[in-house]
Structures are given as C-alpha cells and as structure tokens.
C-alpha cells in the first residue's frame, strides 16, 4: 500500500516534469539547429543535424560577455541592497509602532495593483534629475526602489511570526533594537531572505525595458539587451536567440541552487521556533 503510493507520487512528479521540460526540450533542440527564421517545425527538429555552433556564436556576438558581466554586477548589487533595505523596512513595520503605520502599509500594497508599465517615464525623469542616467548606480537604484514594496510585504509576514519572547534575552543583556534585529530577526529569517534573494535575482537578471531605457551607452548594457539583439529588424535568429538564453539561464540556476540549500537546511533543523 505504502509502496504503491510512493510509486504513484513519483509517477505524478515524472508526468509533471514532462509538461515542464517539454517546452525546454523544444528550446534546446532549436538552439542546436541553424537556419531558423521562424521557430522550426517538429519535422525539422526531428530530422535536422544538430550543432553547438549557435552557442559559440552567441557567446561571441553582441558584446555578450561584456553584457554578461554587467548583468552580474547590476544584479548582485540590486540583490544586496534590496535585501538590506527591505529587511529594515519590514522590521519597522513588524516591530515598531508609529502613527499612520497601517495606512502607509496599505498604500504600499495598493501600489502593487496599479499597472506600473507607464511609470517608466517619471522614473526616468527622476534618475535624470539625480544625474544618474547611463550609470549602474541609477539602474540599481531604480531596480531596488521599484521592488522594495513587494519584498517588504513578504518579509513583514515572516518577522511577525517570530515570537517577541526571543527578544527578552537580548534586552536583558542590554542590547538595543538594532542588536535584536541583527541577532534575532535576520538569522531566524534566513529562509525567507534566501527565497527573496532568488526572486530578486531572477527579476533583475531578466529585466529588459528599464535597463535599455536607463543605459544609454552600449558598453553599459545588460544581458537581456544582448538577447534582444538576436532578433533583427526583418527576421529573428531563433537558434542564436535560444542558445543565448540558455547561457543566460545558467547563473540563475546556480543562484537558485546555492540559496535554496541554505534555506532548506536552516528550516529542517528548526527547533527554536516552537517554544
């Protein structure tokens, strides 16, 4: 009975994987074929000769390597600052009392529901008045600023789950609020921070429109722009485009593996929350 159940569960997971991986198989096969001005038909995918040429080409074109490095810098700093700032903000909302707190928070949540797609022009105007157009600082600032609400919202829930009684030992030792924040809230929220890190990384890594708008010189562009350049004025080179996007996927997978291990471990050994 137990065995049957286990097999059944695994079977379900495998079927799920076919659904999930199917499109990727299509993507990988496309990246291995050439002469694609539209996406190849199933017949072509089955019969055509496969080559790694697209990967080599993609790596060498459109300043791919430079943009790859730029993306890592931008994404890395965005990650660092948004984690820091959003945990501070979440702590403020979770553990401080001040007039207008809930109103402010509701305003924050409300902003999540308003289409943000045309915000780009006022955002750009602000960067311009700060003289940050075409700089990494400007792009990072914009990424961090526009993502804070969501991350704060996420972390606040976690912080509020942490029992206040844990703070007492710090208070007895004469520690202040920052000590409490640093030595209780942050370490106990590592799972949440890890999750947030993954989300923040991928959201930034993938972003195209804002990056292109803010970065004026070609040398400052990020990876998604290189991907778009494989789609030309009259035709798209899908083999190259997909090969490039597969390469671009690798760092995200690494980040996921690193951070998810961190948070899973932290949780499994979790005994302190219970009491």
């Amino acid at each position: 009975m137990k065995k049957l159940e286990t097999t059944l569960v695994h079977l379900l997971l495998v079927i799920g994987i076919i659904v999930v991986i199917g499109p990727f198989a299509y993507m990988v096969l496309t990246s291995l074929t050439t002469d694609n001005y539209s996406l190849p038909s199933p017949q072509k995918l089955m019969t055509d000769t496969k080559t790694l040429g697209n990967f080599a080409q993609a790596w060498g074109k459109n300043h791919f390597q430079l943009y790859f490095r730029n993306s890592i810098v931008v994404t890395g700093f965005t990650l660092l600052f948004s984690l820091t700032l959003s945990s501070c903000m979440a702590y403020a909302f979770a553990r401080f009392e001040f007039p207008g707190k809930e109103k402010l928070f509701r305003l924050f949540v409300f902003t999540l529901f308003v289409p943000a797609i045309i915000n780009i022009i006022p955002q750009f105007t602000i960067l311009k008045s700060l003289r940050l157009v075409d700089s990494y600082s400007g792009l990072i600032l914009l990424y961090v600023g526009s993502g804070l609400v969501g991350s704060t919202f996420f972390l606040r829930g976690f912080f509020e789950r942490i029992p206040r009684e844990l703070e007492e030992s710090i208070v007895i030792d004469g520690g202040g609020r920052f000590t409490i924040f640093r030595s209780i809230y942050i370490p106990l929220s590592l799972p949440a921070l890890g999750t947030l890190a993954i989300f923040s990384f991928q959201g930034t890594w993938d972003e195209f429109v804002v990056a292109l708008t803010v970065m004026k010189s070609e040398a400052h562009r990020t990876l998604p722009i290189a991907l778009q350049l494989f789609r030309g004025q009259y035709v798209s080179f899908y083999g190259l485009f997909f090969a490039a996007s597969i390469i671009a996927l690798i760092p995200t997978i690494i980040v996921f593996l690193v951070f998810q291990k961190q948070f899973v471990k932290a949780n499994l050994s979790d005994g302190s929350l219970k009491n």
Binding site: V9, H10, L12, L13, V19, V20, P23, Y26, M27, L39, P42, L85, M89, Y91, A92, F93, F96, E97, F98, P99, E102, V109, T111, L112, F113, V114, I117, I118, I121, P122, Q123, I126, V144, S146, L148, V149, T152, F154, G157, E160, R177, F181, P191, T195, I198, F199, Q202, P224, L227, Q228, F242, S245, L249, I253, F256, Q260, F263, V264, N267, D270
Partner: protein, 298 residues
C-alpha cells in the same frame, strides 16, 4: 504628539531610505499618472499639454475595447491565480512527502520555468501552439497520439488564444508558489502532524485543518502577488497573440501600453490605469485591514 515624534525618531533609521526610494520610484510615478490622466498629455513637451477635464475618464467608460480588456484581465486573474496556487501547492505537498526522494532535483526542475525569461517562454509557447501540423502541440495531438482528427487553430480563436496565455502563465508561475510553500511546510513542526495522525486524521483533513491555517500569512502574500502578476501581465499577450485575433485577447495592461507608447495618448493610458487601481482598491477594501496583520503562534 510628543510620543508620535519619538516613535518616528525610533523607526526612521529603518524606514527612511527605503521609504525615500519607494516615494521616488513607485509613489511619485503613480501620483504623476493620476495627474496626467486629467490632461491630453504631451509627454515630450508637457508644458503644452491641454487640460482634458474628465474626458479621458469618460472615454474609459465609452471605449468598447475597455470591456474586452477588462474581461480578459479579470479572467486572467480568475483562471491563473487559482491555477498557479493549486498546481504549486500540489507540487509542494508531493515533494514534501516523506517517501519522495531527490527533493532538491524535483524542486529545481519545477522551478526552472520560473527563472527562465518571460520573452523566451512566450515565443516558445507561441510556436508550440502554432496552428496546422506545424505546432508541436497539434503534432502531438493529431499525428502522434491521434487524440483529435484535425489540428486546432489555437491562436485563431479568442477562447483558445486566451487559453494558451493562461497556460503559459500557470506553467511559469506554479513553481514559484511551490517553492514558497515548501519553505513554509518545512517550518511546521512535525509534532503537529504526529498528533493529528494519532487522532486518525486523513492527510487531506490534516492539510485543511493544520497546514493551511498555519501558513495563512504566506497564503495572503502569495495570493496578493499572483493577483498582482495577473494585473501586471504583459509579455505573454504582447509576444504570443499581440492582442489578436482582432484585439480580443488584449489585457488592460497591454491595451494601455498601446495607447501610451504606440498612440502616444498618455492621458488616456493613465486614466485606464487609475480606473483599474480604483476598481481593485474597491474590490479588496474589506480585506485590506487584515493584510499583513495575520500572525500565528505555534
């Protein structure tokens, strides 16, 4: 008064920087959008913009496309929010089971759609669901599995085109829900389940009575984010259907983008955006008090 000042002084080190950034890059653009919605706005020479009074808003209520776009946006939320949520929870529960091996592997595989680029995925689905025998899905259904006789023109009909858009949204989002619930499930003390098992509760009952209430704050967060995702949804329509056939799959978001950046009608685009914000604010008004306040103690 003095107390309030003191409280502000205490909280400000944690709040000020983040608040300033949010003001600059979220709240100010939003306020600006509201302002713009009262003008026939010229984005390049704002000083030449003519006041529009309420005419942009009147237009929102008379434009026949708004009805279609609103319907699609609502359907998007109604279908993909529960779709992603259920798929994600089921996956999390399956992977979380004691007997399942290779947890890291499953988790990674199911997460790959989440981390892949939207634009790439959208193109993939557009071609997977191409009509005739050229699309992989039709090829599978007709030529390999012989489930249907004739290939389906997926992107040629409003219903099926919307279906493809929903499918790609669920396909891409389910892993995100899964990862969050996996983390949450692991933080629930096993002792609670053991107690339930002793009481003879079935797994489904244990899920409904123990797990769900315990992860309520997470669920609130997830649902809000999924709704947010449905409202901000853009690329899947922009890249798969371009709003077609005959503009019948436009979302409010894609439609207002078109008004702003292709027709340069920023006043109208902002008015649509404001109306949508107000609508959602009204719909969620009663829920808002509890948002973020949920707190559980084990």
């Amino acid at each position: 008064m003095r107390k309030a000042l003191k409280q502000y002084a205490q909280v400000s080190p944690y709040l000020v920087v983040g608040l300033a950034l949010t003001l600059a890059f979220v709240l100010y653009p939003m306020a600006k959008g509201m302002y713009i919605s009262f003008f026939h706005y010229n984005v390049i020479k704002p000083e030449t913009s003519e006041s529009a009074g309420l005419s942009n808003f009147k237009h929102v209520f008379t434009d026949p496309m708004i009805g279609t776009a609103l319907r699609n946006s609502l359907l998007m939320a109604i279908v993909t929010v529960p779709g992603q949520w259920i798929a994600g929870i089921v996956l999390a529960l399956l992977i979380q089971m004691k007997t399942v091996r290779l947890k890291v592997f499953w988790r990674l595989i199911y997460y790959v759609p989440v981390i892949s680029s939207w634009i790439v995925v959208s193109y993939l689905f557009r071609f997977l669901f191409a009509d005739g025998h050229e699309g992989m899905i039709n090829y599978l259904l007709v030529d390999i599995l012989h489930l249907i006789g004739e290939p389906i023109g997926w992107l040629q009909n409003t219903g099926t085109a919307n279906l493809v858009v929903w499918l790609v949204s669920i396909w891409k989002g389910a892993g995100w829900v899964m990862v969050l619930y996996l983390a949450a499930l692991q933080s629930i003390p096993r002792s609670l389940y053991e107690a339930a098992e002793i009481d003879g509760a079935r797994p489904a009952a244990a899920f409904l009575n123990i797990t769900l209430p315990l992860v309520r704050p997470l669920t609130a967060y997830v649902i809000i984010n999924l709704v947010n995702g449905a409202i901000q949804a853009f690329i899947q329509v922009y890249a798969i259907t371009q709003g077609g056939p005959m503009d019948s799959t436009q979302l409010l978001n894609t439609y207002l983008y078109k008004q702003a950046f292709q027709y340069f009608d920023f006043g109208y685009a902002s008015a649509i955006s404001v109306c949508l914000g107000v609508l959602i604010f009204a719909l969620t008004y009663t829920q808002q008090r509890s948002i973020g306040r949920d707190r559980i103690e084990f």
